[in-house]
């Protein structure tokens, strides 16, 4: 069934160093003939659905292999690893589960690898087109996968592949380059004159490269972003994502009309479900053995068992009788997590707002949100307490906000004085504080937090929340802290 080898597919001109990636329509030669194999390139934009026979077994196993890779990439991307490490970890994992070799590779059944890659992708499309949420996550992980492969692709083959996509990007001509020279040079960074001279730019509408715009890495004028060749990757990824998104929406629309084989339905359902459950790992599951907390007890628990972020919010709330929205959310869900039932939560918040707020205002504007957090209003989702990762990355605190992670969102001076005043066991002159501040400087917020836990609970360094686990969730801190007290 498979062709034994596709080595004859190496483009004839590949050795004659077509080293520059020039993407101009005029440069394309249209005479290239469709070669016998479906897969001339290692990379794939998945623009034409495969029409071939596959067994039901392959249908499922190829999809599961790919799903595993995508979930793995997704969970990795939440761990804020340095890019290099991320990339090498993905590479190892891919090699094992979904290898894809370049055209020049020996002793590899390229056709089989690429077929597996393609089929897996198309099956998952069916599974993930159903809701906007699933679609977004699928696109994100697929893009990450594609990016990784694109970056590791053979230089010549990649150029060949890009040429086959026939993008229509406008090249900035020399006069324009010179007239905006200083701006272009600034945005290029590392201002070597030589790099500037040989660099060339594409001009595209700014919204086609949102990532480059968001990070201010391109010069923009009159709505056009000037993208240097060196950042071409963004353009390609954007095109990949945009096409995939559009295709998924169309699939979603047509899915109900699809004369679906009833053997496939359950498989697809199952795939979607397992992707969803995959993310739950950093979520907090309250354990049964911790006794419920009442409104009365919160103060005591706060002093003994709250992690820094919650202590900060709680102290603020005590002082100001008020918290801004995201602060209320962060603290409220956390309290739910430590076992404060809904009716006690209402008592607690009512008490904390104190006399500065009328009962009427409280009932009207605040009670709803508390009940909402407990899944008693609106779409009735029982929201889980925020994890460290969510606190660190979502809803960044604005100028008047107090929520967030002290290690990340306080300036170093404020942080150290906050820690010293909150945890009297910490010693200003000791090496420990310096160590904590150093981790903060290197953006290892969870290490700093874990170290504070160890120091305030008299635990040996490196033990963390038990067997070396670091703090990844405020509720885990509290749970462990209360366990230790017993």
């Amino acid at each position: 069934m498979f062709k034994p080898s596709t080595r004859h597919n190496i483009p004839a001109g590949s050795s004659s160093a077509a080293l520059e990636v020039k993407l101009n329509k005029r440069h394309f030669s249209f005479g290239e003939q469709e070669q016998s194999s479906r897969y001339r390139h290692r990379l794939n934009f998945y623009s034409k659905p495969p029409s071939l026979d596959i067994t039901i077994d392959e249908f499922e196993s190829f999809a599961i292999a790919r799903l595993r890779v995508l979930s793995y990439i997704e969970s990795l991307s939440h761990r804020s690893l340095p890019y290099q490490q991320f990339s090498s970890t993905v590479a190892t994992y891919l090699k094992q589960h979904l290898p894809l070799a370049s055209n020049t590779a020996r002793n590899v059944d390229l056709e089989a690898e690429r077929r597996k890659d393609e089929i897996g992708h198309w099956v998952l499309r069916l599974a993930f087109c159903r809701s906007p949420d699933l679609r977004a996550r699928f696109v994100r992980s697929e893009v990450a996968l594609f990016k990784h492969r694109f970056e590791t692709d053979d230089f010549v083959e990649r150029a060949e592949f890009l040429r086959s996509l026939k993008f229509d990007w406008e090249l900035v001509d020399e006069t324009e380059k010179m007239s905006s020279a200083s701006q272009l040079r600034t945005c290029l960074g590392q201002g070597k004159e030589d790099t500037f001279k040989v660099e060339s730019w594409f001009k595209v509408p700014w919204w086609t490269v949102p990532d480059l715009v968001g990070s201010r890495r391109v010069f923009i004028k009159g709505g056009m972003a000037y993208v240097p060749q060196s950042l071409q990757l963004s353009l390609v990824l954007q095109a990949f994502a945009a096409r995939l998104e559009r295709a998924l929406e169309i699939t979603a629309k047509n899915l109900p009309r699809l004369d679906e084989d009833e053997r496939l339905g359950p498989v697809i359902e199952h795939l979607a479900a397992s992707f969803l459950s995959g993310i739950g790992t950093s979520d907090f599951q309250p354990s049964e053995n911790n006794a419920a907390v009442t409104a009365e007890m919160v103060d005591d628990v706060a002093r003994k068992h709250f992690p820094p972020c919650m202590r900060n919010l709680y102290d603020r709330l005590k002082r100001d009788s008020h918290l801004k929205h995201f602060g209320r959310l962060q603290l409220g869900l956390f309290l739910k997590g430590i076992g404060l039932p809904l009716d006690e939560a209402i008592v607690f918040w009512r008490k904390m707002y104190g006399s500065t707020m009328s009962d009427d205002k409280f009932n009207k504007e605040y009670k709803y949100n508390i009940r909402h957090g407990y899944g008693q209003e609106g779409k009735r989702t029982n929201y889980p307490p925020r994890s460290c990762q969510q606190i660190l990355t979502q809803n960044q605190p604005g100028t008047q906000d107090t929520h967030g992670c002290p290690f990340r969102h306080f300036s170093p001076e404020t942080l150290s004085s906050f820690l010293l005043s909150t945890y009297p066991t910490l010693d200003r002159s000791s090496n420990d504080l310096k160590e904590i501040m150093d981790s903060v400087k290197n953006s290892h917020y969870h290490l700093s937090c874990t170290r504070v836990f160890e120091l305030t609970h008299g635990i040996k360094k490196g033990e963390g929340l038990g067997s070396g686990e670091s703090v990844t969730h405020p509720n885990k801190w509290t749970e462990r802290s209360r366990d230790l007290e017993k």
Binding site: P205, P210, F219
Partner: protein, 428 residues
């Protein structure tokens, strides 16, 4: 039944009274340009019919997901519900009012003006004249600077043309961008433009809120910030040094010193100088700083000079760069108060503001609903009016604002029409 305001001496035009609001909606609200502004066409299109409106009724009742077939339909409902204010959302994939009959997830936001919201609250830490809900001509200086910079960037950098600036009725300003490219932006793209524009970041606990020079803090400014800085230099001198006198108080100048590189030679001597002369004005203090930094430029301390120069530029940005409420702009489904609403607290109309005259704008001179209605009390009687039917608003001080709005809408319509012609000709 119409309420005879004119003959009722008891009405004192309190904006929280339902009669007053009703009279405003009945006689003064500019329905025609309002409809055209949202719809961008004369015949009702999805941009209007699938658009969400949210009403706030008396007693803080909030009704979301209203939608209307036409401008008349909208007016009828507005008069019936008589809301104290209302907000505008996006065009959805279906009519929002039908949402209960739709499959789950079938109601998705699609197109929406790109909006920005600047609110005085975010300036509380740097304004010295008022606090909390108050606003005066002096603190408006911050908003004016913000409007100028944002308007310039949105037009020149991003190429938008149809920007409508609207006073929010108390202490803020909104911007609505109606270009078709702006309507089409998805949430990721909105987020990208917001991240691009956002310069002031960090929570209450963070002194330095401007970090725009890469990870080493020494990279050159992005060209758009370089341009912005040229504009803001003047506003900084006028607003922060003169009007607000930000560094006069000890807290003020201590903040200033904490934002500079810690260097005993300069910040140390400045601290001594300022402590010994507590009445020194902000301009003088800024000058003190400049005169100590400038000589370093040609000396062997060029590096220190550069560090101070960067810090001073960052201070100018921190004190005058627009502080936008980014959540409002990032998501298409965020609701924003409509232009020409009445602010329930102040009674002021949310009128359009001309960005090139924003320096002269004075929130205290914005017409209130009370003033407008009493101007209507002194209408010339029907017989005196000859010729064409004159709309009620034309007799009031609302007139120039409605005209400004109409001009803005006409420009949008011209563009959409041209776009349509182009599309049609492409089809043949």
């Amino acid at each position: 039944m119409p309420i005879p305001i004119k003959d009722d001496p008891m009405v004192d035009y309190d904006p929280s009274s339902p009669q007053v609001m009703n009279a405003f909606y009945r006689r003064l609200f500019p329905y025609r340009p309002f409809f055209l502004w949202l719809n961008q066409d004369h015949a009702p299109a999805k941009l209007f019919t699938h658009r969400e409106f949210a009403f706030t009724l008396a007693g803080d009742v909030y009704i979301r997901y209203n939608s209307f077939h036409s401008a008349d339909d909208f007016k009828k409902e507005l008069l019936r519900l008589n809301p104290s204010r209302f907000e505008i959302g996006p065009q959805y994939s279906a009519r929002p009012r039908d949402r209960k009959t739709l499959a789950a997830g079938a109601l998705q936001p699609q197109r929406r003006e790109l909006v920005f919201d600047i609110d005085m609250t975010d300036y509380d830490e740097i304004r010295t004249c008022c606090t909390d809900k108050k606003i005066c001509k002096r603190c408006w200086g911050y908003i004016a600077a913000a409007v100028k910079v944002l308007d310039q960037t949105l037009r020149e950098t991003f190429g938008f043309k149809h920007l409508l600036w609207v006073y929010s009725g108390r202490r803020g300003i909104h911007c609505w961008i109606s270009d078709s490219q702006a309507l089409d932006l998805n949430d990721d793209q909105r987020k990208a433009i917001v991240t691009f524009l956002e310069v002031i970041k960090g929570s209450k606990e963070q002194m330095k809120k401007v970090n725009v020079r890469g990870s080493n803090g020494e990279a050159p400014l992005h060209p758009f910030l370089e341009d912005t800085l040229q504009t803001l230099k003047f506003d900084f001198a006028r607003v922060c040094l003169e009007e607000q006198d930000c560094f006069r108080s000890e807290r003020g100048w201590e903040t200033l010193l904490s934002l500079l590189p810690q260097d005993r030679d300069i910040t140390g001597t400045l601290r001594n100088l300022w402590q010994s002369d507590p009445g020194r004005s902000s301009s003088d203090k800024w000058h003190d700083l400049q005169s100590r930094v400038a000589p370093l430029e040609d000396s062997d301390q060029h590096k220190t000079f550069r560090r101070y120069q960067r810090a001073m530029q960052d201070i100018i940005l921190q004190y005058t760069y627009p502080r936008i409420d980014s959540e409002v702009s990032k998501h298409r489904n965020h609701l924003l108060k409509s232009p020409f609403c009445i602010h329930p607290g102040t009674g002021r109309v949310c009128i359009p503001v001309n960005p090139s005259l924003v320096d002269e704008f004075d929130p205290d001179t914005v017409p209130t609903v009370g003033e407008l209605l009493s101007q209507l009390d002194h209408l010339p009687s029907e017989e005196e009016q000859k010729g064409r039917k004159i709309e009620d608003y034309e007799h009031t001080s609302l007139k120039p604002y409605v005209e400004m709005f109409e001009k803005h809408v006409a420009a949008i319509l011209r563009d959409t029409r041209a776009l349509k012609v182009k599309e049609e000709s492409m089809e043949f």
